[in-house]
């Protein structure tokens, strides 16, 4: 990222400070002075101007509350609006931020002009947006106390400056996002801890084992069933052969069996036909037939369904002319479409017609007819059943007759056949249980494979849910720990680098036995701090700031309120001599008492590349001041350019 940011000037009107326009550039150029000194007596609105400058540069005014806005209103004139405009040069291109403050609403708005583009709102170019955050702007538009605070071990300004410059707060921001993501997950899915996960894992393992065992059992039972069926067939054949040894009974029995088989076939066939017949309600009761006929009569009476369906009217509404020949305009069209909803749709018409046709076909003119026919079929079924049962009784009688003869071999065959039947039944019953349909009341101990398969699927989902929650928690903790480590390591490495670069700068600027920066913690710690003078300490602080803001690929202006204010007279020359070598542009707000021992050394060090401005409010206290010709009078303020007036002006307070 490269950026060379220069402050060209600002213009303010309608606010608490006097209206004024400050141009920091050399005459007829867009190159700013290296040093600009703006002398403003206390009470002229220095702090207000500094705050507006910071807010306009950083976009921070968008967060101002009503009280903060109204505090900027000038007491007497009651201006509805105030305006603060800042001009910058960014890598040669002019950038302007305009902050308009509306006291009536109260609200603020921004306008950004960069190159040829003008946008409503605060839109810093991406290349310098890093430097124009609220936190960052406060570091290069600061008051003289900052330099003192940087070396105060009770304050954290040095750490904050490094964190802000290198945006280290991003690490903490990302950690917060990860925590938030975890909290959102928990609120959605519930908190599933390790115990829950272990329980679900164990349950799924148990269920899967059980399901596997049941499937194996089913497979074995199927094979067993086939064997048992074959065995039963053999036993049955052997038993039948044993019965047939009495030829008389055997012949009779063979004939009975054939008849029984035929009777069973007829019975099943007739029962199948009747089941289909019973689907028609009119065949089960004559009342159904009568009532359905009544329904058809009423539909006919109501002329339902009508021959005209809804679709007809909708199509008609699209035509230019009605079937009666009258034109269809928009009003008529709307009325037709509206009333079309009162007619049935073509699908509803179709259903009603089908119902009427079926009533005609299946109920006929005499509703009893179909019912009576069905009753005769029921009677026939009864007869077929009776016939089948009679033949079955005949068969049993013949078998009993044969068994009564006392044939031990036949007894044995019968016992074997009965045993085979019994075994087959047991296998079938167990298979039926394994293969039956799923039931919602089944639990983990069920033998129903379909139910258990479903239970396993549910258990799998529950396990996945718990696993994902525990995984997310562990992953989040690891990432947050890495980010915390990375932040600490970044801070350490960057502090070391800034310290080395600051010391290089100090050695270059202060050749005679300089005090060096020993360490950067929350504040700046000087090597041998005990013996360092205030001037040496501040020199280190300014060198630190210069290292921070004027690096190889970017430079920023220093805008300082009362740079010499906190310094005693002995220290001032040291700091003043240093400043022009620290930064390309230094803009300072001063009061007259700061001139002593500060301005002359500063001007000498800057080789005369210094601008002297004096701004004061026109009040009773300033009325006697003789203002030179060419001064900029704004109605409530006077801005005078020039060193002579700057040096003569002797007013600290208005």
């Amino acid at each position: 990222m490269t950026a060379n940011i220069e402050l060209l000037g600002w213009k303010v009107s309608g606010l608490r400070c006097p209206d004024h326009e400050v141009n920091l550039c050399k005459p007829n150029s867009s190159i700013p002075f290296a040093i600009s000194l703006i002398q403003m007596p206390n009470g002229t609105g220095k702090t207000t101007t500094l705050n507006l400058l910071r807010a306009t540069l950083s976009g921070a005014a968008e967060n101002w509350v009503e009280k903060e806005i109204l505090e900027l209103r000038r007491g007497k004139d009651g201006n509805p609006k105030g305006l603060f405009i800042v001009d910058l040069k960014v890598d040669g291109d002019k950038l302007t931020f305009e902050l308009t403050i509306n006291f009536e609403t109260p609200s603020v708005s921004y306008r950004t002009t960069f190159g040829s583009g003008v946008k409503t709102g605060y839109f810093p170019p991406r290349s310098i947006s890093t430097f124009l955050t609220q936190q960052f702007v406060e570091l290069f538009v600061f008051d003289g106390e900052l330099a003192v605070n940087l070396t105060d071990s009770r304050k954290t300004r040095a750490r904050e400056a490094i964190d802000a410059l290198f945006q280290l707060s991003i690490f903490e921001g990302i950690s917060k996002l990860l925590e938030l993501n975890w909290q959102n997950h928990v609120s959605r899915a519930g908190h599933k801890g390790k115990k829950v996960l272990a329980h679900r894992k164990n349950r799924l393992t148990r269920l899967l084992g059980r399901l596997e065992r049941l499937k194996q059992e089913k497979s074995l039972l199927k094979k067993k069933l086939a064997r048992q069926e074959s065995e039963l067939q053999k036993r049955t054949d052997a038993y039948n052969n044993a019965i047939a040894k009495d030829k008389n009974i055997g012949t009779k029995l063979e004939g009975v069996k054939k008849r029984l088989e035929k009777a069973q076939d007829e019975l099943e066939k007739h029962a199948g036909t009747m089941i289909l017949d019973m689907r028609y309600p009119s065949r089960l009761s004559s009342d159904f037939g009568s009532e359905l006929q009544q329904l058809k009569i009423k539909l006919d009476k109501l002329k339902l369904p009508s021959t005209t369906s809804r679709e007809f009217f909708i199509e008609l509404a699209e035509a230019n002319e009605c079937i009666c020949g009258r034109p269809i305009d928009d009003i008529v069209k709307e009325a037709i479409i509206d009333r079309a909803s009162k007619y049935l749709g073509s699908d509803e018409v179709g259903i009603l017609n089908a119902i009427k046709k079926d009533i005609g076909d299946h109920c006929g003119k005499d509703p009893d007819q179909h019912y009576k026919h069905h009753q005769s079929e029921v009677a026939k079924l009864g007869a077929l059943l009776k016939n089948r049962d009679g033949i079955a009784t005949e068969e049993r009688a013949l078998i009993e007759q044969r068994l009564a003869q006392g044939d031990s071999e036949l007894d044995k065959k019968k016992t074997e056949k009965d045993a085979a039947e019994n075994e087959l039944r047991k296998t079938s019953l167990r298979l039926d249980e394994l293969e039956r349909s799923a039931d919602e009341t089944d639990d983990d101990e069920t033998d129903c494979i379909k139910s258990l398969t479903k239970i396993v699927e549910d258990a799998r989902e529950q396990l996945a849910e718990a696993t994902s929650t525990v995984q997310l928690k562990n992953q989040t903790e690891i990432l947050v720990a890495i980010l915390s480590d990375a932040l600490a390591k970044s801070r350490k490495a960057l502090r070391m680098q800034i310290k080395d670069e600051t010391n290089d700068r100090i050695r270059e600027l202060l050749s005679s036995d300089p005090v060096l920066l020993g360490d950067i913690g929350d504040s700046l710690n000087l090597s041998g701090q005990q013996g360092a003078s205030v001037g040496q300490t501040l020199s280190v602080a300014y060198a630190f700031l210069a290292t921070m803001f004027s690096r190889g690929n970017y430079s920023l202006p220093f805008v300082v309120d009362s740079p010499a204010g906190p310094l005693d007279l002995k220290v001032r020359p040291q700091v003043a001599k240093l400043i022009p070598r620290l930064t390309k542009q230094f803009v300072a707000f001063t009061i007259s008492s700061e001139r002593q021992k500060f301005v002359d050394p500063l001007a000498d060090a800057a080789h005369g590349n210094v601008q002297y401005l004096t701004l004061f409010r026109e009040t009773a206290a300033t009325r006697g001041i003789i203002v030179p010709a060419g001064a900029d009078r704004t109605g409530n303020g006077v801005l005078v350019d020039g060193r002579d007036f700057f040096d003569q002006f002797d007013l600290d307070e208005e």
């Binding site: 890093t130 290198f166 990302i174 996960l197 990375a486």
Partner: protein, 80 residues
């Protein structure tokens, strides 16, 4: 991150922190990409749509060991 050379310091810190946690290098790459996007001003920290894909990518590459199975059948959350 404001200056390229210092980006390198931050990048090294990220990679070192990841190495010390025995995590794959992909984790460091994902964090670096995320931090860089925010630092460039392309994404804010406050807009969920901006960070969601970065967040999911970073989480997805974190390696976990076996999750403990303490065999307790009591499905309660008292371990949290």
């Amino acid at each position: 991150m404001a200056a390229d050379i210092l980006n390198q310091k931050v990048k090294e810190a990220i990679f070192e922190a990841v190495r010390e946690r025995d995590q794959p290098i992909e984790v460091a790459k994902r964090i670096e990409a995320w931090v860089t996007q925010i630092a460039k001003g392309n994404e804010g920290l406050e807009k969920p749509d901006d960070y969601q894909s970065h967040l999911e990518h970073a989480l997805s590459v974190v390696q976990l060991g076996d999750i403990e199975n303490n065999g307790d059948d009591d499905e309660s959350d008292d371990d949290q």
